[in-house]
Amino acid sequence: MSEHALNFMPSEGFRARAKDVVENPFLRQSFRGAMDFLIGKRAGQFPNPEELETLRTLGEQIRQYNLGKLPALLVQLEENLSRNGIQVHWAETPDEANAIILGICQAHSAKLMVKGKSMVSEEIELNHACEAAGIEAMESDMGEYIVQLAGEKPSHIIMPAIHKTKEEIATLFHEKVPGVDYTDNVDALIQIGRNVLREKFLVADIGLSGVNFAVAETGTLCLVENEGNGRLSTTAPPVHIAITGIEKIVEKLDHVPPLLSLLTRSATGQNISTYFNMISGPRKAGEKDGPTEVHLVLLDNGRTQAYADEQLRKTLQCIRCGACMNHCPVYTRIGGHAYGTTYPGPIGKIISPHMLGLEATATMATASTLCGACGEVCPVKIPIPDLLMRLREESFSAPHENPSMRGQGAGYSRLMTAVWQGWAAVYRSPSLYGVVTWLGSRFGWLMPSRQGPWTSVRVPLKPAPKRLRDMLRERG
C-alpha cells in the first residue's frame, strides 16, 4: 500500500484497494485482531448499560448545545485565547491553513517541526507543504512516526500503524534508522523511537499539535494522549502551533469531563488517557519553560457546509474516538487505506464528502452494510446510518438547484434511476407485481449466466419456476 494508491478521488480505485486488502490474509488478521481487541477493551469500560446510555445522551446534549452556539463560541474563544496571549488564525481551506503555518515557521527561520498527533494536519497535508517549503516535519506519535518512515498514511485515526506487524516495523527501523539492528521486541522498538525523537524534541524550532477540546470560557486548548509526545511537542520547542477544526469547541470547562470520559473509554478502552494536557497560554514572565509563542489555527474545510443543514450538522458532534471504525464490519475487512481519505470508516464516510465534495466521494456512503453498529457505539449519538442514507440520496439523486452539498448528484445515472423507479412501480402495484413475477417464472431460463459484479463471486440469479403465490394456491 504505497502513497501512490491515495489521491483526491477516493471513489476511484476504492474497489481495487479494498480487493487488495480483502485478499491479503495478513492484513485481514491485523485489522480483525486489533478491532476485536479494541471492541473488548471498550466493552470492559462500560459494564453498566444505564450509565453508558445516560452518559452518551449527556455527550450528545453537550455537543449539540455547543454546536447550537458555535459562531458566538468561536468569537468568545478567540477573545479569551487572545487575552491569554495565544494568537488565533482562521483558514477556510487547507491551502490557507498551510500558508498560515508556513508563515509562522518562516518568521522563525524554522528548519525542524516536531508534530504531535493531529488528524487535521493530515487533512491539510501539512507534511507535504512543509517539505515543499524546505522545512522538515517530523511525526512524533509512535504510530505516526512508523507510518511516516514507511512513506505511508495512517490507516486508523487513533492507531495510525495498526496495519503493520511488528516484524514489518522491525525491518523498517533496521533499514531506515541509522545504526539500528533488527529486533522485533516491541519494548526495544519503542525505545528506538524514543531515542530518535528525543533528540528531535531537543532541537525542534516548532511544535505542532491538534486539539481535542477548545474551551471558550477559559481560552484553553486540551489534548488527550498516552505517549507524552503531545506534551513534548507543545512544551519543548520555542513555538507551539495548534490546529483544529472549528467544531471542537465547548463553552464551559465543565463540559470537558463527560466528553473526556466518553472519548478515552470509547477509543482505547482506558478510563482516562495517561496525559490530559490543558494549555491556556504561552510562557509567562518568570516561567522557565514552555513555548514563548502559541498559535491556534481554526480550519473550516467544508465544516460550514455540514453546519448549514440541521441533519448534516450532527456530523460535527464527532469527538474522533474511532469507535465507529472499530465496530464497522466493512472497515474491519478493508482497513483504513482503502477509503482513500484522511478519515476512514463510518466517520470518514460522513465527514469526507464535506471536505472533498461529492464529486470525489460519490460512492463512499455505499461502502456500508447499514448494520447500525457505528450509530450504536457512537459516544455522542451521531446517527451515522441515517447520515449515510442522506448522503446516498445527495449523491445519486438528479442534480437540482440550491443543493445542500457540493457535488450533489455527482453519482446520478439516468439508467439506474429508471431501473429503481421501475422496481418501485412493480412493488407498489399488486397486479403489475403478479404479471412481472409470472413472466419471471416462465422466462427465467433467459437470465444471463453473467450478471455483472453479482456473478463475480456468486452463482447467477434465476427466478424460481413456481412463484410463492402459485405454491400457496396449490396447497389450497
Partner: protein
C-alpha cells in the same frame, strides 16, 4: 472579507435552534457517589497502579526517607528539584547529606536544555490534587516547578496529599473553581508514558517518564 468573517458569516446564516444547556451536575450527582478519604485513597491507588505507577503511603515526617529508599533501589544518584518550593528545599537539605545530588530547576530551559534531556535521571514535583475515579494526579506547573520537570526525566516522583483526592475530574474542577484561573499548563497524569501503537502491544516509556512514583502522604500514624 477575511477568512474569519466568511466562516462566521456562513455559520451565522445557518438556521440553528438553540438547545438547552446540558445538566452535567445532575448526571454526576446520580452516577458518582461521594467517598471517604480512605475509600478515595484506595480507589486512586488501584487505578494508578493498574496503569503501572508505584505508590508508597508515607507521612509528612517519613516521605524523605521513602524517597531516598526509592532512589537507592533504582540506583539513581541525581534528582531534579524545585528549589523555590518547601518540599524542594527539604529534599536539597536532607538528600544531599545522603549522597544524592539535587540540582535545582533555577534557570530558563534555554540555558540547559541538552543537560535536561541527557543528564537528569529523575525529578521530584508536588501535585495539586488527584482524582480517585481514574487514578489521576493533577499538576499545576508554575515558575517554581516548571512544566518539563514532570515530562523529560525518565523517572518522575510525585508528592500527593491524600486529603486532596477528589472523587471525579468534574468534582476537582468545580470544587477548586478552575475556570476562574487556570495556569499556563494544567496537567492530568495517570501513569507513566505508554503506547500500544505497535500491534496493540502495550509498552511503557514511550516519550515521557518511563516510571511514575507517587509518595502518598496520609495521616500521621
Amino acid at each position: 472579507m477575511s477568512a474569519r468573517d466568511r466562516i462566521l458569516a456562513k455559520l451565522n446564516a445557518a438556521p440553528v435552534l438553540p438547545k438547552a444547556a446540558p445538566d452535567i451536575a445532575s448526571w454526576y450527582a446520580t452516577h458518582r457517589s461521594s467517598e471517604t478519604t480512605a475509600e478515595k485513597v484506595a480507589r486512586f491507588r488501584t487505578c494508578i497502579e493498574f496503569a503501572h505507577a508505584e505508590v508508597y503511603e508515607v507521612t509528612h515526617a517519613s516521605w524523605l526517607q521513602k524517597l531516598w529508599e526509592v532512589l537507592s533501589a533504582k540506583e539513581i544518584g541525581k534528582l531534579l528539584v524545585a528549589p523555590g518550593t518547601a518540599h524542594g528545599q527539604r529534599a536539597i537539605t536532607e538528600l544531599s547529606q545522603s549522597g544524592i545530588e539535587c540540582p535545582g530547576y533555577d534557570s530558563p530551559i534555554e540555558d540547559w536544555k541538552a543537560e535536561m534531556f541527557h543528564d537528569i535521571p529523575a525529578s521530584l514535583t508536588a501535585s495539586r490534587c488527584a482524582i480517585a475515579e481514574t487514578g489521576t494526579l493533577v499538576l499545576w506547573p508554575d515558575a517554581d516547578e516548571p512544566r518539563l520537570m514532570s515530562l523529560v526525566p525518565p523517572v518522575h516522583i510525585v508528592l500527593l496529599d491524600a486529603a486532596t483526592i477528589h472523587n471525579t475530574f468534574y468534582e476537582a474542577m468545580t470544587a477548586e473553581k478552575w475556570k476562574d484561573g487556570l495556569p499556563t499548563n494544567a496537567l492530568l497524569i495517570s501513569g507513566p508514558s505508554k503506547t500500544a501503537d505497535i500491534q496493540v502491544t502495550l509498552a511503557y516509556g514511550a516519550h515521557g517518564p518511563k516510571e511514575l512514583v507517587v509518595l502518598l502522604i496520609g495521616e500521621e500514624a
